[in-house]
């Protein structure tokens, strides 16, 4: 008996028209935990183990065939689908704490959702709840029948791969526009952060201190980092100074200690060597044949 349900997921076997080898998609109702994306709450479908190169177009086509009327609003595939990694990391967040402008942020939010999705998963949102219900029910039916449903794959051929190469070439016009826009945005974010920092210099806290900000400082984190660095450097400097002043062969006990140390060290090294040779022997290394 074929398995139709697995840990709350429905199993949907699909196959390409040509080969008839089943491929299993796992789906369930998408319930988003964070309220931020509640917009599509209740009308989204979480699908797992999607076939390769699943796109909005291929999904639309699929739903047209299995559930007419279930119109798709959007499809968010995992960012990992096309990359040989298991987690996605946003480098920008790790290198800077600048508040980038809102548009970027929202774009990033969508990205973030995609970045959190595991490989070969995706979220399909439908235009409204009824469309979702329609789609969900018909998929459930298909799943229960345990029959394979045809799935259309996009065509791959040499042209496709050639395009992959060509897609890497960037159009200078478009590129320069996006670059300049990005830089303008970045400048603004930087300026805003700077201004915010400057404002803090005006504030006097309870103890009567104000924040001192250097002319090159851009973010608050930068200052903290600098302080941390300064602290460690100071300590090191002080230690170095102490070391320099100390005379190592002034007291007799120092000499004696040194000799003792030498002796111990020699012995310790000898022991280490013995150990090493013993290890080598265990590995049967001394076979000159």
């Amino acid at each position: 008996m074929a398995v139709t349900e697995l840990k709350g997921f429905y199993v949907l076997p699909v196959s390409s028209p040509k080969s008839q080898v089943p491929h299993y998609i796992f789906f369930k109702k998408h319930d988003s935990k964070n309220s931020g994306s509640s917009t599509n709450n209740g009308r989204a479908l979480f699908m797992c183990n999607l076939p390769v190169a699943t796109s909005t177009a291929s999904l639309k086509k699929f739903f047209q065939e299995v559930a007419i009327g279930a119109t798709i609003e959007s499809f968010v595939p995992s960012l990992l689908n096309d990359c040989p990694l298991d987690v996605w990391v946003n480098l920008t967040k790790l290198t800077s704490d600048l508040e980038l402008n809102p548009e970027l942020l929202s774009a990033q939010n969508a990205d973030e959702e995609a970045a959190k999705l595991p490989k070969n998963c995706g979220i399909v949102s439908f235009v409204d709840k009824s469309a979702f219900q329609l789609a969900f029910n018909s998929l459930k039916k298909l799943s229960a029948s345990a029959k394979t449903t045809p799935w259309t794959f996009p065509t791959f051929d040499s042209k496709y791969y050639l395009q992959r190469y060509q897609a890497k070439i960037l159009d200078p016009e478009v590129l320069s526009e996006s670059v300049s826009q990005a830089l303008v945005d970045f400048d603004r974010a930087e300026r805003e952060s700077k201004e915010a920092l400057q404002q803090q210099t005006q504030l006097v806290d309870e103890d009567g201190f104000t924040l001192v900000v250097g002319s090159h400082r851009k973010t608050k984190a930068g200052i903290m980092g600098k302080q941390k660095l300064a602290a460690t450097v100071e300590v090191e400097k002080a230690q170095n100074k102490m070391k320099k002043k100390e005379k190592e062969d002034f007291y007799r006990f120092q000499l004696r200690q040194r000799k003792k140390d030498e002796m111990n060290e020699l012995l310790q090294k000898f022991k280490l060597d013995q150990e090493k040779v013993r290890m080598m022997k265990e590995k049967k290394r001394f076979r000159p044949y």
Binding site: M1, A2, L6, K7, F9, S16, V21, P22, H23, Y24, F26, P51, V52, N81, D82, C83, P84, L85, D86, V87, L91, T92, L94, T95, S96, P118, N120, C121, F153, F156, D157, Y160, Q166, K168, I169, L170, P172, L175, S176, V179, L183, F186, K218, Y251, R252, F253, L255, E262, E265, L267, K269, F270, L272, D273, Q274, K276, M280, K281, F286, Y289
Partner: protein
């Protein structure tokens, strides 16, 4: 009362702290203490035999005087004092000790005061050795300290000594075997005494005495016909154990070893003139046969089942001996010793001094033949053979006496024996004629002098390591060929051994007492080889950075193809034996040595400086033959010639001779070279005789010279019989589609230099561009720019996967780069856009920007692609001062799991922007220095590619692996041919246990360590500290990952102390496959030899190892990769002259397909393919897949499995990988590229 003196000494010591104290071996100076302790050697190198002259003498004094006058002994002995400290009461220190025990040791009072000074004193005066403090005593056991001190002193390092100890244990002959053999020997002795005598048989009687079907007398050539003397057998005067077993210097050998027993024939059987004309040898042959005839029935009767055969001792045809093997029988009463793997050689010896040794001097003739010339040539070989037959027992006694006098002699002999054996040397003529016997004699001689005026070279108190190294040094630095060593083996007589500078031009160690040249079996050729090996070993022993124990003693290094750069096989035609006349016969005895000598002479003369080493050897099967044959029947006419080339000279087109005005030499030169010799005026105005050679692609010049010279001097068609695989390997390299390709030698770097020049001109143009920030530098960073790309760079060859050459641009320093990674990349892009715009509008360069995804998570990187008018492609990436800071910041800010990921990101960045630039710089320097590096690494890459491995490795890693034999070839030497280099790489990979050992490469030009001191300090070799740091990195990695799951190949160098920069992304299956394939390849070469078909086999992939194999086909890209297609006429293929409009149409689509597959399915399948589709016939390629073992098991269903799974039918909630579904999708993704798919059942 002692105070003033000790204070005075204290001051004295302060004035010259280093020279006296530190050189006296053990006192670890503060300076040394600063260094971290390296387990390999470092501070333990207190004394080195290298400075043996004076230091050694001082040592001896210490040793000899240690017992009675400790005042002269240095601090080291104080350790021993500690041991006996309780009993040392004479200096009254005991009081202090007790006092000390009641005190705390930190307490400095009056008594302690005195004590302290003694502690200082004891560096010079162990007599007053300070008692250890209480605490110390608890920790240290006196013996341990003493042991530690001693090993550090007398041996190269602790670890070396310990390793020698272990080795000695390992090679010891088993006690049970010895006991058994002793039993056998006793029984054999009894049997021999039972052999009846027989007297005065004439030749006929003697021959008829034996049943010729069973035994035949092994008379040496020429067989006697009529003799006026008789043959007799009388019981031997003496039967004694000789050789290493008797001396107890024997070692266990896996192939079994032999025990020599000498039976001395009674004196009365000889007449004084018997040394002449084989007479003694004939008598000896009869004696031997008679003995064997009686031994056979006797042994059967006495339950000693043995098989007897004749054996030419040490390949000397004048000296047949009886070889006794044990036969395995069922009878429990039989004394069978086959399990001990011992064989016994019954040597029949002449009584010592029976012949006048003066008559047998090397320059005397002892075989009288009829000849036209007045004076017969000397018969050194014959003479020495006769002499040595009189002296087996004598030399055993001599060596035994020496052994008794020098404690470590025995151990040193074993070391020497092992050393020789690993290098293929032995007493046998075909093994070079220098075995453990010669080694032991030389050591004995050196213990008694050895210098020019008889000054001592070795001392009796030396440790085994010092003796061994001293001897190696002697071999390496003194020439016993042009000069000779003279010593006396007279026991009790103390005559110094002396080195004399004017020798006989044959290797000589002359024993004044027996008048025997100990090295009589050596030839100048084998001697130079020995000397060369000694030199290499001396360098290794002098190495203070690495532990060289392995290559010196443990590794076998006698494989011809790796020992020599060129190996030739020569089969000598029958008709050549005509030149072997009676005069040649008496001086060389055998045809083989005559030929070997002749070949060597011709080659030496012909090659001159081009070859460092010429090795000639008879490919002999065996010197053992049954006792019913007079001599071995199968005569082998094959000779093996091995050459080690001189890289500076070997490819020169002109062989220069003497100046025109040197008449005599000129004549000689002309007669040697015949019609090829000509007279030329050179640029500097000199007129010289010379021979000019033409370079050919498929044959190195050395080979052409050899062929010509052999044809001229040996036999007119001999070159037909000369077989060499040297060209097969170079011919494997793809021929570039260049007009000049046919006239190139394999080592040429012209096409690479053109590429570098193109980059140089681009650099100039970039520097002159008008940009907000000027271009500071443009650093090359691609494999072709460091002479290492598989395909030679061919202009306009856009299908070459290495077509795009990376280069890293740095602009002038600025503080204004954005402090955020994405914005930083955007700013760089802005710069590149500007550059691109300027290039496109102002120059003939074409350029455009592409997206780069080589660094994961950083999506904003762009590269500037530039097509130069010369036809090359460069890809520029920008490096700023901020990059590294930002990546490191990301690592610092990351938490938990992310950290490892971001470290990988940083590594990637380091690879692409920093590491590769450094690597390119280093490798291109080395490629210039090592001429054969470039073709070797290219062949290695070809091999990897043919086995579908290349695309799993970074180019840099492959290049580093290929550099290994060049910078660290031990126990072999730096390869000067592609064949040698390639095999050495395979050899290394096959034997590299990367789970337990790291590879640390010292990427500098010269491997010689014995450069003069100052240059050593200035050189950029790895220091001990640097080496230690790298080793520690390795240890750290292995501690967290002992089985090498995450990091397999650790390759550290000064460019990359982390060791994992280039190997970080490898998988275990790939690394193990590399090892397995190298092993298989080497196995094939070693067992089946190198033939064309075998070499082809090396480059054929084993497809059956993969889970599935997809055949794919792309458009024709061979020519556009810059490869001259095989089997085509060159004139039908036109060289490329322009780029197509869209360069991406020439890319290899199969690589894109595999990329795509990897992106989608890397969790479940490892895909492999050939990176160079253009190298395949008919443009097909193969994509293979292996399912990742971890992905195959059943798993609980999770959303983030990342695998294509199907539910398991048993409702367990588990899923399993959907293999059919996967393959279906893979085929689907291939589209029209896929031709067929084959799945392993």
């Amino acid at each position: 009362m002692r105070r003033p003196k000790s204070q005075c000494e204290k001051y004295g010591e302060q004035q010259e702290p280093s020279s006296s104290v530190r050189s006296s071996v053990t006192v670890v100076s503060p300076k040394q203490l600063e260094k971290p302790w390296a387990p390999v050697s470092e501070t333990r190198n207190y004394i080195d035999v290298a400075q043996m002259g004076t230091a050694g003498k001082r040592k001896l004094v210490h040793w000899e005087s240690a017992s009675e006058s400790p005042a002269e002994v240095d601090f080291s002995v104080s350790a021993m004092e500690v041991e006996t400290e309780e009993s040392v009461e004479k200096n009254g220190n005991n009081g202090f000790v007790e006092h000390e025990e009641s005190n705390d040791d930190g307490d400095v009072d009056g008594d302690d005061d005195d004590d302290e000074e003694e502690e200082e004193d004891d560096q010079k005066k162990p007599k007053n050795s300070g008692p250890p403090t209480k605490k110390q005593r608890k920790q240290l056991s006196a013996q341990e300290v003493q042991l530690a001190r001693e090993t550090a002193e007398l041996f190269k390092s602790n670890i070396f000594k310990l390793q020698i100890d272990e080795l000695m244990k390992e090679v010891r002959i088993k006690e049970t075997h010895v006991a058994k053999i002793e039993k056998v020997l006793h029984r054999l002795h009894d049997l021999i005494s039972k052999v009846p005598s027989v007297e005065n048989l004439t030749l006929q009687q003697a021959e008829h005495h034996f049943n010729s079907k069973k035994v035949v007398i092994p008379f040496p050539d020429p067989k006697p016909t009529k003799l006026n003397y008789t043959f007799s057998y009388l019981p031997p005067e003496d039967v004694s154990l000789v050789g290493s077993f008797g001396l107890k210097t024997g070692i266990y050998q896996s192939q079994g070893s032999s025990i020599d027993i000498a039976l001395t024939m009674p004196k009365e059987l000889f007449q004084p003139k018997d040394y002449l004309n084989y007479r003694a040898l004939y008598k000896r042959a009869f004696y031997l046969t008679y003995l064997s005839e009686h031994l056979m029935p006797l042994s059967k009767k006495n339950n000693l089942p043995i098989k007897i055969s004749y054996h030419f001792l040490n390949d000397d045809v004048l000296c047949p001996v009886l070889r006794i093997e044990s036969i395995k029988t069922e009878n429990p009463e039989d004394l069978s010793f086959h399990k001990t793997k011992f064989t016994i050689n019954l040597i029949v010896a002449f009584p010592f001094g029976v012949f006048d040794s003066k008559k047998l001097l090397p320059d005397k003739n002892c075989i009288r033949v009829q000849s036209d010339s007045d004076e017969l040539p000397p018969t050194p070989f014959y003479n020495a053979s006769i002499l040595s037959m009189t002296a087996y027992d004598y030399y055993l006694k001599y060596l035994y006496t020496v052994k008794k006098s020098a404690e470590s002699f025995k151990e040193a002999c074993k070391l020497g024996r092992l050393w020789l054996q690993q290098r293929g040397f032995g007493s046998a003529i075909n093994k070079g004629g220098f075995g453990h016997f010669e080694f032991a004699i030389l050591m004995s001689a050196l213990l008694n002098g050895g210098g020019l005026n008889g000054s001592k070279t070795l001392f009796h108190g030396y440790s085994s390591y010092q003796l061994f190294k001293g001897l190696i040094k002697y071999l390496a630095t003194n020439d016993l060929n042009s000069g000779y060593l003279s010593f006396s083996s007279m026991i009790g007589e103390n005559v110094n051994s002396k080195y004399k500078e004017d020798g006989f031009n044959v290797p000589t160690i002359f024993d004044k007492n027996t008048k025997l040249n100990i090295l009589w079996k050596m030839t100048p050729s084998s001697y130079s080889e020995l000397q060369y090996q000694a030199n290499e070993t001396l360098n290794l022993l002098n190495d203070v950075v690495k532990d060289r124990f392995d290559p010196v003693l443990l590794q076998k290094s006698d494989f011809d193809q790796m020992r020599f750069d060129v190996v030739l096989n020569l089969s000598i035609p029958e008709e050549l034996s005509e030149s072997f006349g009676p005069l040649e016969k008496i001086s060389y005895i055998t045809y083989e040595s005559y030929l070997k000598n002749k070949l060597y002479k011709i080659l030496k003369n012909a090659l001159g400086d081009r070859a460092v080493l010429i090795h000639v050897r008879n490919e002999k099967s065996s010197s053992i033959f049954p006792i019913n044959k007079r001599k071995p029947t199968n005569v082998n006419n094959n000779y093996i010639i091995g050459l080690q080339l001189n890289p500076e000279e070997c490819d020169k087109l002109v062989t220069k001779g003497p100046n025109n005005d040197e008449q005599e030499l000129g004549l000689k030169f002309r007669s040697f070279w015949g019609s090829k010799a000509s007279l030329r005026r050179f640029k500097d105005g000199t007129i010289q005789h010379c021979v000019v050679w033409t370079a050919q692609t498929n044959e190195p010049i050395v080979l052409s010279i050899i062929k010509y010279a052999l044809d001229l001097h040996l036999h007119s068609e001999i070159s037909q019989h000369l077989v060499s695989e040297i060209t097969t390997f170079t011919n494997k390299l793809p021929t570039p589609l260049l007009p000049s390709a046919s006239s190139q030698v394999s080592t040429t770097l012209v096409s690479f230099t053109n590429l570098r020049n193109a980059l140089e001109s681009l650099n100039k143009i970039l520097a002159n561009l008008d940009l907000p920030l000027g271009v500071k530098s443009l650093s090359p960073a691609s494999t072709a720019l460091r002479f290492s790309s598989l395909l030679q760079p061919v202009p306009f060859a856009a299908s070459n996967p290495d077509f795009w050459n990376d280069a890293v641009v740095q602009f002038e320093t600025s503080t204004r780069w954005p402090d955020e990674i994405s914005a930083l990349e955007k700013t760089k892009t802005a710069f590149l856009l500007k550059v691109s715009e300027l290039l496109n509008s102002e120059t003939t360069y074409k350029s455009y920007l592409t997206k780069d995804d080589s660094i994961t998570f950083n999506e904003d990187i762009t590269l500037l692609n530039i097509l130069t008018p010369e036809g090359y492609g460069f890809r520029l990436r920008v490096l700023t001062e901020r990059d590294e800071v930002l990546y490191l910041r990301a690592v610092a800010n990351a938490e938990g799991k992310q950290k490892a990921l971001l470290q990988d990101v940083y590594l990637k960045f380091n690879q692409k922007y920093l590491g590769t630039v450094k690597h390119t710089r280093t490798v291109s320097q080395l490629a210039h220095h090592f001429h054969f590096y470039s073709p070797t690494v290219r062949l290695f890459k070809l091999w990897l590619d043919s086995q579908f491995l290349l695309h799993h490795f970074t180019d840099e890693l492959v290049e580093l692996l290929a550099l290994k034999p060049f910078v660290d070839p031990a126990p072999y030497s730096v390869p000067h041919s592609v064949e040698n280099g390639f095999l050495q790489i395979l050899h290394f990979l096959a034997n590299w246990n990367w789970r337990e050992t790291s590879l640390v490469l010292d990427l500098v030009k010269s491997t010689a360590l014995n450069d003069d001191e100052p240059s050593m300090k200035l050189s950029d070799r790895l220091t001990i500290q640097a080496h230690r740091v790298i080793e520690q990195n390795f240890e750290k990695i292995r501690k967290s990952d002992p089985t090498g799951i995450k990091c397999q190949l650790f390759v550290g160098s000064k460019d990359d102390p982390s060791g994992i920069l280039w190997s970080n992304e490898l998988d275990v299956p790939i690394a193990t496959r590399l090892t397995a394939l190298s092993r298989a390849a080497l196995q094939l070469v070693k067992t089946e030899g190198l033939s064309d078909s075998n070499i082809d086999l090396l480059f054929t992939p084993a497809l059956k190892d993969y889970d599935f194999v997809i055949r794919v086909k792309s458009s024709n890209i061979t020519a556009t990769s810059g490869i001259l297609p095989s089997n085509t006429f060159k004139n039908l293929i036109t060289p490329l002259t322009a780029f197509p409009d869209d360069i991406s149409t020439q890319y290899d689509l199969i690589q894109a397909y595999v990329d795509e597959l990897n992106n989608k399915f890397h969790n479940s399948i490892i895909f492999s393919t050939r990176k160079f589709t253009g190298l395949n016939e008919d443009n097909t390629n193969i994509v293979t897949g292996i399912f990742v073992p971890a992905a195959l098991s059943k798993k609980k269903f999770r959303v983030n499995l990342g695998l294509d799974v199907k539910p398991v039918d048993d409702n367990s909630g588990e899923v399993v990988i959907n293999k059919e579904g996967l393959l279906d999708q893979i085929t689907l993704m291939g589209g029209d590229l896929v031709q067929s798919i084959k799945i392993r059942k």
